[in-house]
Subunit: 332 residues, 2 copies
Amino acid sequence: MTTAKQWVLASRPDGAPTVENFRFEEVELPELSDGQILVENTFASVDPYMRGRMNDVKSYIEPFQIDEPLTGTAVGVVTESRSNKFKTGDTVRHFAGWRTHAVLSEDQAEQIDTNLAPAEAYLGILGQTGLTAYVGLTAVGEMREGDVVFISGAAGAVGSVAGQIAKHLGAAKVIGSAGSPEKVDYLTGIGYDEAFNYKDGDVNGQLAKAAPDGVDVYFDNVGGDHLEAAIQNANTFGRIAMCGAIAQYNDTEPAPGPRNLGLSIGKCLTLRGFVVGQYTHLAKEFQEKIAPLVVDGSIKYASTVREGIENMPSAFLELFEGGNTGKMIVKF
Amino acid sequence: MTTAKQWVLASRPDGAPTVENFRFEEVELPELSDGQILVENTFASVDPYMRGRMNDVKSYIEPFQIDEPLTGTAVGVVTESRSNKFKTGDTVRHFAGWRTHAVLSEDQAEQIDTNLAPAEAYLGILGQTGLTAYVGLTAVGEMREGDVVFISGAAGAVGSVAGQIAKHLGAAKVIGSAGSPEKVDYLTGIGYDEAFNYKDGDVNGQLAKAAPDGVDVYFDNVGGDHLEAAIQNANTFGRIAMCGAIAQYNDTEPAPGPRNLGLSIGKCLTLRGFVVGQYTHLAKEFQEKIAPLVVDGSIKYASTVREGIENMPSAFLELFEGGNTGKMIVKF
């Protein structure tokens, strides 16, 4: 009999979540049936979108349930197998995060090659994170060679990749915003042409200065004043890929939309929301075009790693304070 | 020497415009030069977009200038010609509205055939109005056969045409909102499948009831609560063509955007603003596909006609109170 430790949802947050919304507990796992594997997790991902799942609201993904274990992407090692697809010692990626061990059916896991790239990469740039960046720029933002591209939350997991992909796709200029001088330096270090610290204030003015010829594509991870600034500085037929709005995830009242949305009419702007789950048909294209650039080091990525499954909720909460550069990962 | 009476901008409105913002004056017109024509106007159009031109704000179209005559689409008869392109008695459409007579160069006017359709039609359904409706549904809203289409300001000049075009393009259901029981009856009379009176309140609830299977395309002429209701009821990959926001044109403070814009992410919605001037390359397609349906009576149109150039400002102001069904036109 294997014992697992896991995080369950203790209560739903009203506004900003706290560690009190999570409860750590021990459970006994069932014996394996045919076709199942036992996985011991080594890394797990915490992501901004999980905030939405803490609310009891129907969305594109099921909400977390009270007293039920949380889920999310994780990497682990197969320690027992009754599947012909996997053998003991295989490293796999799956969705049963937030726990030390999981019993999975063989179709719930996929093997990954940690000789090609480290496990962290499979949680981020080679996974949904990288695909999100790629899809947001291409299918959603319809980026074209020569475009001026602006990315908010640029030092985050998606943003840091999106900026580099934009350069590889021929953007004339890539501008990023982030929340500290260190992150601004990080951005120019990985290939952003310009970057600014939104905490210096006047996002609109800073963007106008960085983009004197206007913005053609805006990749929005933030919402709020960043979205307004992008609309204000957008060129005619500009495109806005709405990927996330972390500035508003903890609001208890619905946040007002951009006050200058009316400008989209005269400027013929397109604002398009997306979730990567609707664009998985582009995963193959991403693997062929972008993954090799990650493996050969042309596209760089960063992870912020916190140690110990017991610290997983606090690592998650750090996301809302900008505690991460690149992907936030917990190492068990 | 010909004398013309014309409306000039006396002052810029702060909030809702009044007749005091306009001044009626008499001017002497110059003698014709080679290539010029003198036109006596018979009909002129007043349109919601003119409200934006009363502000001193750079936009997709030049603002009106203080003490200068207003402009807009008009129809008139050539009374004198020094052009080989036009002869006395020709009926033409041009942009020198808001005045009794105009001296135009020959490339500023186009001949129209009032045997095919009455002059009013050329100011509306066979002009920019019809093209706006067509472009908004097709190139902007990417309407497909089988879509559920919702149109606000549906009894207005653009909306009343858009609903009929949507049916002709194979919409599964076309729903309209308007501001009186008479307009609601008008809509169902011209082919809308369902219509409701937004003044009855709860636009979101009324739309949800009319569109139990959700909305695929929303043609927005109104903004405000209608836009929020459309986002709320939109299906995944729904499209919103933002054509106008008459509910907000007289606001002195920037109106907040839709509070539920965040839903566009999970629903993968596209919101796309447009002005017809950026889509004139589709005018030929419109003339071929839609104009014949107007001429043969398959697509109906209404005009609200006010008499006398001296009443032109008040006819314009009526637009903001929903005084019109279909195109608002002034007959001189």
